[in-house]
Structures are given as C-alpha cells and as structure tokens.
Subunit: 270 residues, 6 copies
C-alpha cells in the first residue's frame, strides 16, 4: 500500500478500507482522486488477501462530488475548433469514467458506507459499488443537473439498474435532496444506521461475513450478477455453466461440504 493524496487505505481482516481523505474539502474529487482510485483498485485486484472492500469518507461527509476547480480547468483548455474540442472532451470523459469502471469491475464485493453529503460525482461512485449503506444523516442528490450538464461518469448509466425508473428520473431532473430513509425505500441503500460509527461498524461486520465465504464462490457470484446487468437470461445460464465447469472443480466445494457436515466454520485459501 503506497501513500495516496486523496485517500487513506487500510487492510485488516482481509478487508480493504478505502476512505476518501480530503475532509476539509468535503472530500471533493480533485485531480489526484481520479488516477489514485484506479491505482488502489489495481492493488486490490492483485492482492489475494483482500476479499472485500469498504469505501467511506473521512470527516463529516462522504463526498460532495467532482471538484469544481477541476471542472472549470477542463473548460478552459478548449481550443477554437468545435470538432477537435469534442474529441478531446470525449476522451477526457472516458478517462474519468475509467476510474469508476475500476470500482465496478473489481472482482471483490465493494460496499459503500455513506454519511453526510453524497452529491453529484459521489452518486456516480456509489452506483459502481455492489451495495450501499447509510447513516441516518446521509443526503443524496444528483447534483449535475444544477451544473448545467447531464451526469457522465456513471450515475445515469448504473443507477437505473438499482432504483426504480420513476424515482430515478425525478432525482435526475430536479437534483432534489433525498434522505437516508427515503433512499432505503427506493432501494438506493440496503440499510440505515443511527450514525457514522454504527454505520462503519455495521458495514465492516458485513464485509467480514463476506470475507469468510469461499473467495472462489464470492467472485463467481459477483461476476454473474455483473453479467446479468447487461445480458439475457439464456446467455447468463450458458455463461455460468461455462464458468462453473472450472470452478466446481475447486477444492472449496469439498471444504464447504466437510464443514457443513461437521458443523464447523470452513477455512478457505485466498
């Protein structure tokens, strides 16, 4: 684990805790943030010991989204030719998207623990996580509409698969603040905790539970759910058959079965 400017990363109990660490800037996503999150998830992918990931925010809020300074600078770099500007902007957007794709593509479950503000780009980020949990004070808003733009790093692409269409559109067109309890009703978060401390404890507990399962089984399960987001049921059935053709030959099944018979807790290799 190297040092990061925008994050604090810890590994314990087979869980990587990735905390956005710019509390005095409401954890706004600045120029350091975007490449660092890729670096962190490359490390997570490569580190067998990590079996689950928790993302949270240091300080009073999860994150206020993209740093407006950074956005303004991007605007200033435009040249005279609209076509060439468009090409440049297109590639810049694809580059920013890649940061949250790294979260989405992570083979290990990623849990977002949200308290305080979760605005704009922060919604794009948590939409790329597996599950979301909130403290009672959490507030969610698709803030991009108030910046005069359509959200382009994942919210409009991934959130419609997570919450209902009607609420999705209202949030996206109006940018209105949604509280923790309403977010839970919508399916945006799975559970609401009393405060930040209870949230972190609860989410860590859940992460530990997942980390105790067979990593082969967990990663296969995640791959399948990810696959189904964009594929047909018949394709999904064929894909899992091909996937499990190899994975059912893993010794994790034997270990799980033996533990089940002997009523003991199974121990799986990383």
């Amino acid at each position: 684990m190297s040092d990061y400017k925008a994050f604090r990363v810890e590994l314990a109990d087979k869980i990587a805790h990735v905390a956005i660490n710019r509390p005095d800037k409401i954890n706004a996503m600045n120029a350091d943030f975007w490449p660092e999150i890729i670096e962190i998830f490359n490390w997570i992918e490569a580190t067998d010991e990590v079996r689950a990931v928790v993302i949270s925010g240091v300080g009073k809020h999860f994150s206020s989204g993209i740093d407006l300074m950074m956005l303004a600078q991007a605007g200033n770099q435009q040249g005279r030719d609209v076509g060439r500007n468009a090409e440049k902007l297109r590639r810049m957007i694809l580059t920013l998207q890649a940061s949250f794709n790294a979260v989405d593509n992570c083979r290990k479950p990623v849990l977002a623990a949200v308290h305080g503000y979760c605005l704009g780009g922060a919604i794009d980020l948590i939409s790329a996580c597996d599950m979301r949990y909130a403290a009672a004070d959490a507030q969610f808003s698709i803030k991009e509409i108030d910046m005069g733009m359509a959200a382009d790093v994942g919210t409009l692409q991934r959130l419609p698969r997570i919450i209902g269409d009607g609420q999705m559109r209202e949030m996206a067109y109006t940018g209105r603040m949604v509280g923790a309890e309403e977010a839970r009703e919508m399916g945006l978060v799975n559970r609401v905790y009393a405060d930040h401390a209870a949230l972190l404890e609860g989410v860590m507990q859940l992460a530990r539970e997942i980390a105790a399962k067979s990593p082969v089984a967990v990663r296969g399960t995640k791959e399948m759910i990810r696959y189904m987001r964009d594929h047909r049921v018949d394709d999904g059935l064929e894909y899992i058959a091909t996937w499990n053709a190899a994975m059912l030959q893993s010794e994790d099944l034997r270990i799980a079965m033996a533990a089940h018979m002997s009523k003991q807790k199974p121990e799986f290799a990383d």
Copy 2:
C-alpha cells in the same frame, strides 16, 4: 396551438399542459385521440419554449382507456383471408403504438397526473411518461385482459421497466384494481396527493422546477435514461461521452457555474 377534439392544451410558465378532454366519456381514447396526440407532441418538440409537459384528465377520471366503439369497428373491417387480415391488423397496431411512442420519444420530461380511473390504454399511456403522480382516489387496472387480448400499445413493453416483475404479472393476468397508495409502494407513481386539486398543484410545481433547469442538461439527462432502458452500461458510458463531447461546450455550464458562485438563480436560454 390549434384546436383539438380530444384534448385541451395550454402553455404557461414554459409548461405544456395536455389534458384529455372527453369527460362525459370518461376520457375514452377515440378515433380523434390517437392522431391528435402525435400532432400535440410534434408541436411540443418544435416549440423551444416548452420545457416540460404535464398530462392529466378533465373531469372525474384520468381515462378509461381505448374507446370500445373504435375497437369494435376495427374488428368489423376484417376480410376473408387470414394472412391479409393479419397484415392489416399488424399495421393498425403499429399505428396506434406510434401515438404513445410520440410521448416516449419526447425530448422533454412528461409528467402524468392521474386521478380517478386509469384503465387499459390509460396505463399504456402513463407507461410512456417519465413520471407518474396520483390523487388518493386514483385506480389503476390493466383492463385489456378482460377484453380477451394482450395489451399491445405499450403497457406490457414499458411497465416491466417501471414496476417489479412479480406485481407486474399479477396485475396483467388478473386485471385487478390497484389503489393510489399501493401504486406508490410498487413504484408505479412517485407520490400520492390528497385530491385532484392538490395533485395538479403539486405536479405543476414539480414541472416548474424542472423548467428552471438548463434545457440542454435536462434533455441530455432524459436521453441518457431513455437510452439505458434498452442498452448496456458500457454502451451507455460511451454514448454519454459522445453526447457530452458537444454539450459540455454549451454556455449553460458557464451560466450554471456563475450562478452557483454568486448564489443566484441561473437563467438559461430555451
């Protein structure tokens, strides 16, 4: 705005209010209804001033769905050859579908305000809207099953993207009446208002809020959500990057940013 036989259309505060206007016939969708709604939405598309649309029903109900007279006439026009009848019916269905496709394809958000009966074809219609809101007396039923047919102008195609699969099937197989509150729990409507007046006031207020946002941003947002209904996440990310390559060069971003800095309400061109 020309005169319509089946509708009353008003434009105020940048909002087009499209009211089905056959109250003595429970706003049944007759032969005038289908081509007129296309005409109306063509006008909405072409009129820059319109930034949001509200659809409601004049009188005691939203609408009882397709006019049975019209359906019966269609039945009577059949010839002797089953194959040629099938071709004719197929084209007639495609023509009726085109009326609600015009609603679905509208670049501007469309809000349905539903009170009283919302039956059969009326469900097809509101399924093509962005968001749905109800008065407490609203009643919803996929009535086509009781006409001996599978719904074919949009309900079975669009509603499964809006409400859960289990409830969708129960409603479609049984045609049972669903009240406003249950509709809200299902995600069919976003909110329930005490009565018709409160409903219209609430929905108009929401429409005005949307109309105050950057039209470029709102239309881009709608396009993306529409796109995601039928496309993969990776395709959606690439599409928004291509879309925003042009749209981030709009001055609306600068206006929004300036307003944000100066804590003032931004004013966007149509």
Copy 3:
C-alpha cells in the same frame, strides 16, 4: 397424470397443483426431482385444460434446495483431465438448468406458494415462476454461497430481474435468511399470508381468477412479459404487433366484448 416420486400432481378447476413431495427430506431436490419436473411441465403444456399452475411443498417446508447427496456424487464422477471434466460438468449444469427452464418457458402462469424453508435450489425454482406468495413463516436464503459455489440453476440469472440490485447482492454474498415480510418489501413475494392453509387458499383463489380469463389473452400476456425481460422496448412493440395480428382474430375478443356489454361472466374455450 402419471405417478411421480418427487411430486404430487393434481388437476382441479383448470389448475395444476404441483407439490414437491419429499416431506421427510425437507423436499430436497434429488435425482428423481429434476427429470420429473420436465415431464410434469410437458404434460401441462400439452393439456389444454390446464390454465394455471401452482407449485408448493408438502409438509413443513417448501424445499431445502438441491440434495447434497446428489451434489456429492456429481463431484465423485470426475476423471483425470481437467478439460474433459469441465465439458462434463458444463453439460450436467445445462441439464439441471433445463428443469427450471421448463417452468420458465411454460405458456401458462405459474404461482409459487412458499412456506417454511426456501433455500438454495428452491430460490432458483421460484425465480422461474411468474409470481411468488409466502406464508408468514417462510424463510429465504441463497444458500449456494455456503456450499462454496456460485448458484448456477437460475437464481443469479433470474432473481436480478425480480428484486433490487442492492438486496440481490447482499443476499447472494452472505446467504443470509430473509423472512416473509422482508421478502415482500423487496418484491420477492407479492403477498404474505398468515399461515400455510391461508397461503394455499389465497393462491388457489388467485389461480382460479386467472383461469377464468381468456387463455389466448393470458398466454399472449405471459409471452410478452417473458419477452420483455430480455428484449428492447422497440422490439417488444413490434413483437406484440406481430403476435396480435393473429390473436386479435380469435373469437375470445368477441366473447369478452359480448360479456362486457351484457354484464355477464364470459366463458372461453380452453
């Protein structure tokens, strides 16, 4: 109706009641179960009299899922070459999937009535049904994770279309038990009944209601909803137009219309 080892099948009031019938084994899905369910659904497809299907479990539970004996035996049949083992496993999985595909592809609505345990393979089964109903004592768990494997006979493929993404993942990664009421909130079941008797009565009543509708209309409706699970809205609109090109020429429309006019209950041919 022939005799089955793993099921008890009854036909009454145009409803096929398919009950898993190994109560002393918590209705575990053994080697008899998988081919028999295909046989049963072939019979249902071929029997015009059957208009709706109810699946339940005999005894104290719905089902504990796949029989572990059967799973263990499959493991023992593996040879020395990993590649050839993989081919064999792949085909075995595809064969098991075929059993629940038979449920999913059934042209007639299938209602699951769940009480007690509904674990592992039992979730795969009810995910292939049209609708699910529960007794208050029902308990649901995606148990496969505790067997060291990713679920591969339908849960991971079909359930994401039924419940929200966030809850889906939590259930799949942790295997935690979910009660009837929480299952209802998630959209996993449509309704909760006080006990097993009330459940069966309620579900049978619903099935009878569906059986009273036009079978042509019900089957067309089911085909469309099935189609929309994996197709685009525009494809769905074209498909229903082609479908109804034939089906609107059925006499069921005339019968339904006449019954509607005369306020009588329509009688449809099988």
Copy 4:
C-alpha cells in the same frame, strides 16, 4: 401518384419505377428530394397493387449524392451556442436519415439499377435497397470523406452488412472509385449489365418475376431478412414462428400448392 419535382414515378405490371429526375444536376439530392422520397414510399406502402420497386436515375448517371448547396445552407444556419447547434444538427441528420429509412422499411422488395456515377449520398440510398444491379459504366465512391465528414445517412451503418469489412473500410477511408465489375466481386451489386438499357430491362424482368410470387410470402421473407440483420438466430426462429402462425393460414399456400400440382402459374391477390 402525384407530381414530384425530384422524381419521376411510374406504375406498370405491379412495379413502381422510381427514377431520380434531375439529370442536368447529375441527380444531386436537393431539398425537394428528401421529403418526396418519403411521400413516394408512403404511397408504395399504401398501394396494394405495387409488389416491387425499382430505383434508377434519369440521364447519364444514377446520382452524385447530396446537393452541396443544401449542405452549405445547413452550415449557415448555426447559432452561437455549440450545445444548441449540436441539438439542431442532430435532429437535422435524423430527419435526413428518415428518408432512406422509408426505403429500408418498405415491405416490398426494392431493386436499385445503377449506371454512371453513384457517389456519396447515392451509396447511402442504395445501401437501403434490397438488391443492387449495375451497368458496366457504373462508378461507386463513398465521397463523404472528401467533404471532411463521416457519412451519416446510412452508408456506414448498412453497407458493412452488405460487403466485406476490409473493402468497406478501404472505400470509406479513401473514397476511391470502384467500377461495376469490382463492385460485383465485392457483393455490392448482384450482376453487371452491358449498358443502361440492358440494365433497366434486366432489373425490370427480375422485378416482374418477384411480383408474380405470393405477396404475403414475399413480404414475410423480406421482413425476416430485415429482422436478421440486427437480431440473433434464436430470436429470428421465434419471430418467424410467430409470423407464420398467422401467415400459414393465408389462402396463398393453397393456391400455390394447387398451381404446383396442376403445373400452372398461380395467381395471387394483391
């Protein structure tokens, strides 16, 4: 048949002959051309007597493509805001595309008879036809690249389904002229005729042959081939089964069978 400014349209032997009729302008596609071709194909769709369509060019050439005047004017209508310009351009392109979509969507086979120049927009047009035939003097070029733009009314979308990928790219990147014989080798045209007269005679003869077949069978066949351009084999099999469920009940089968038995030429209704 009304009068057209850019076309000459004739109906004889159940074949609509649509000739581009601006010979002094090398049949360049001007402002009249685009809406008129929609009008013409609406008439073709609505006229049962028409069973096949031939498109050709009056004078020495098929067509030099889009009128540059028209293109230049479009450029001049741009305003100050890049975003709003983009929206306007997007809708203008979609409008132009609609003209060739009308050709592509025509339920009746459309044969292009090409002689002399077939440049730019003319390739977009013939790509939307069912089959293409050439006189020996025909010359094909994807000319858009020399206008500084990517072709946007159909060539890049439809031609890759017609000719091989490697040749497609070379033609599109270089805009090089391709002669009739090379076009035939590529699969761009089906056959080369000695000169314009032989071409028209040959294509008309082929069209008459098609017009003598069952119109129900021809239209079903076209629908299926169109469908397969963008759908999976399994979807195509299901679609034809649903389509033929109605169409095999047509009397054309009986007529065809009877003619086959009696070795006589069948006569089908329009």
Copy 5:
C-alpha cells in the same frame, strides 16, 4: 446406432456419416425425418467416439426439402378459431425448427456433402451445418417462396450469416436455381468436386483431418464461432477467456506441444 426409416447412419474412423435415405422420394423430409434427426444428433452428442459428422443424400439428389404431403396434412388440421390455430401452428413450426437446431447445436463439426437437388427445407438443413461442399451437379433453390410461404425452419435465419445480403435476398425472393460454381463464389459452399464420388471422398478426407485434432480444441473452436454469430466481439473475448480458463488445463495442450517438438502425429483421447 438404432435403425432409422429416413436415414442411414454409419460410424467409421470417428466420423458419423448421416445419409438421408429416401432416394425414391428425392429424399423428401417426411414425418419420420424430423424426429429421427434429433435422435441421431442426440446419439452423436452422447458418443465420445464421434468427432465429426458428414451429412449427405442417398441416390441422385441431396434432398428436395419438406415432403408436400406432410405440409398439406398440417394445413388440414386447422380448427375454426384463428387464434387457437395460430398457437398450434406456432408450436408446430417450433417443433420442426428443433430438428435443425439439433444439427446447429451439435458440439462436433458437421459437414454437408451436396449433390443434385438441394431445395427448400434442404437449404434450411445445410444452413445449420458448419461447412458445405458440392458436386458439380448440385443445384440450390430457396423453394419456399413458390409454396406461397416464407421459409421458417432456418434458411432465412442462418443463411444471411453465410452468404452476402444481396445474393441472399435475390435467391429468397425469386427462388431461382443456383449451380455449384455460383454457390462457391457466393460462399454457400467451400469447394466444388467433379462428381458425387469425388465429393464424398473429399469431404470424408476433410472430416478425418478434423477428427485427428484435439477434440477439446475443436469443440471449443466450434463453440466460439457459434457464439460469435450472435454476440459482440467484447463478449466473445470474455467468453473465450472463461472457456479456456478450464480448457487450457487439459492435457491435450501438453500432448500437442510434445508432438510438435518431436515432429510426430499427436494422439488425443476422445
């Protein structure tokens, strides 16, 4: 190998030779033909020894397609209700399609050896094969158009993936006879042999060559090509990675490598 009424099946040199065996009826596909071909391919799937399949016709022709008697009978079974007839026809078509799906889904390469007539249903059959080879006297025609119907057991679905779009449509709309050499130019057959004997010898030789390769590699290769017919390139890349994750652990790689090093012919297990 049981006895078949419509086929003669032989197994030698690891190749199953499936010959249509109704020479006095030009190998017309009668009521025996359709279920027997499924039976035969089930046996091929289950028999490890079979590594490649050759389909040919006994007598002077490959096959004249579906038996007209059988078609006429199907027509006679229709009832009074158009909707219920449609359902019955739809299922009958799906049943016939299943026969050629069995060929298409076969994990082992299937080579068609065509001489004489190859008409109507025979084109549907060879479109489901991997490769097609012809004797110089072979004649191909999409004959269904002359029966007043659109081909519905595979030609219109699979052939567009095999030959060019322009020629496909001409053949399908006109039903014209295409000779062996033209068929080769189109890509319909891979090679033309002087006569029936040379054809069979050539195709058997090719089949033996394939049978000498690693069966794991051949089946994986076929699966991938089959997959790519209907999937995206990125999906295909992911699928082969998942597939080969198991298959690269097969000993066939080691055997192939060793043979390569020692310049000897490798021997692979079935």
Copy 6:
C-alpha cells in the same frame, strides 16, 4: 518514440510504421511483445501527428504467432487448485487480449502488410487491424488448433466479421495453410502485391492517401464502422447523428468544401 525490444517503430509522412522486429525468431510474439504493443498504441493515440498506422514484419516473415516458450511457461505456473488456476488463466488471457484490443481500439486506421508466414497469434493480430494486404508469398494459418487449443486472443472473435462463415470454420478446424490469392478471394486481404517491397510501397502509398484526408472525418468514419460490427442499424444511425452533431461543427467541412470549389488539395490540422 522510445526503444522497443520486439518492435521497430518509425514515424514519417504522418504515418507510424510499426514493424515486428525479431526476424531470427520468425517474429514470434514473446514476453516483450505483448506489453510493448500497448505502449506503442498508447503513443499513437496520444500523438496527433500520427494519422495512419502500418504494421509489418522485419525479415522473411510477418510472424509465426505466439512464442511457444512463453506458452509453455504459462502452463508451468499452475498450482494445485483447479478453480484458482482457472481464475489465473482467465486473467492472463484477458491481459494478452488487451494487447490486440489496443490495436482494434486505435482511433486511427491500421493497415497490416503481410508477407511470408502469418500463423496463429499473427492472425489474431491482423484480425484487429482495419485492412490487410499481402505479398504473393504470404501464408495464413489458424495454427492454434494444432497446439490443442481454441484461439483466444481475437481470431475466433473478429475474423468471422471479416471472412465468410464457411471458410472461417474450415480454416479454424483444420489449421490449413491459405495462400495470398485465396486469402484475397475470401476477403481476408484486400489486395496482393508481387513481393515484399511492392507490398510495403503499396500499403505506404495507401496510408499516405488516408493521412491526407480530414483526421476528424477519418476517425469518425472508423468509429462508426467499429460501432456497426456489434450494434444494430437503428442504433448506428442514432449514434452517428449524435457524433456528427459535434463533428459537423468542425472547420474541416469548410476547408474541404473550399478545396472542392477551388479544385485544390485541402490541408487539415492534425
């Protein structure tokens, strides 16, 4: 341009010439090759001056494909657990694929100039290029089948979009050598040159021609053709409309138009 171990890279006339440079090893793709090609294409993407790319082989051959040493080593790194091995292999394959994805995704046209052997992995490579050209001595073989494996870095995924299905399968199942002229007939290469020198001169000339066109237009054209490989025609039409909404505002159109009017050669910015 940094130094590469497996390549020699030159930039002249706005064309990047990428030559595989291990002539004494028949340009086998070793461990250096795979990451270096990504590096090179990153540089090509980032270097505006590069407008087209040519790939060739130094020495007597284009390339013999993947280095067998490298393959053997991969085999040796396998552990004891089949499941974990599978995961490792899957990721390794995805990593190798990424190297040729970099070629495929390059926004600038890539021309392959092939002489001598082009075997196994070399086919995977040229399948990711835009166009292929051959010297008369070129020989092509999908060699993977003789290594006991299904090709997994692109051949089976991309080649079916380039050559006909029948020939594709024969080549893939038999691994047979295909000469330059046959490759041209198949559409595998666009043109055959007399020898290596003529080949390089011809391909460079073609690349210069492409480099003289508007880079905005060329890149848009490539993006569209790439897009159409995996998308529907209607999606493609919408995508180009969105793309050109920005790109038609480029000054390249004005420059091209002016050059066209004045009959001069246009000069476009990079």
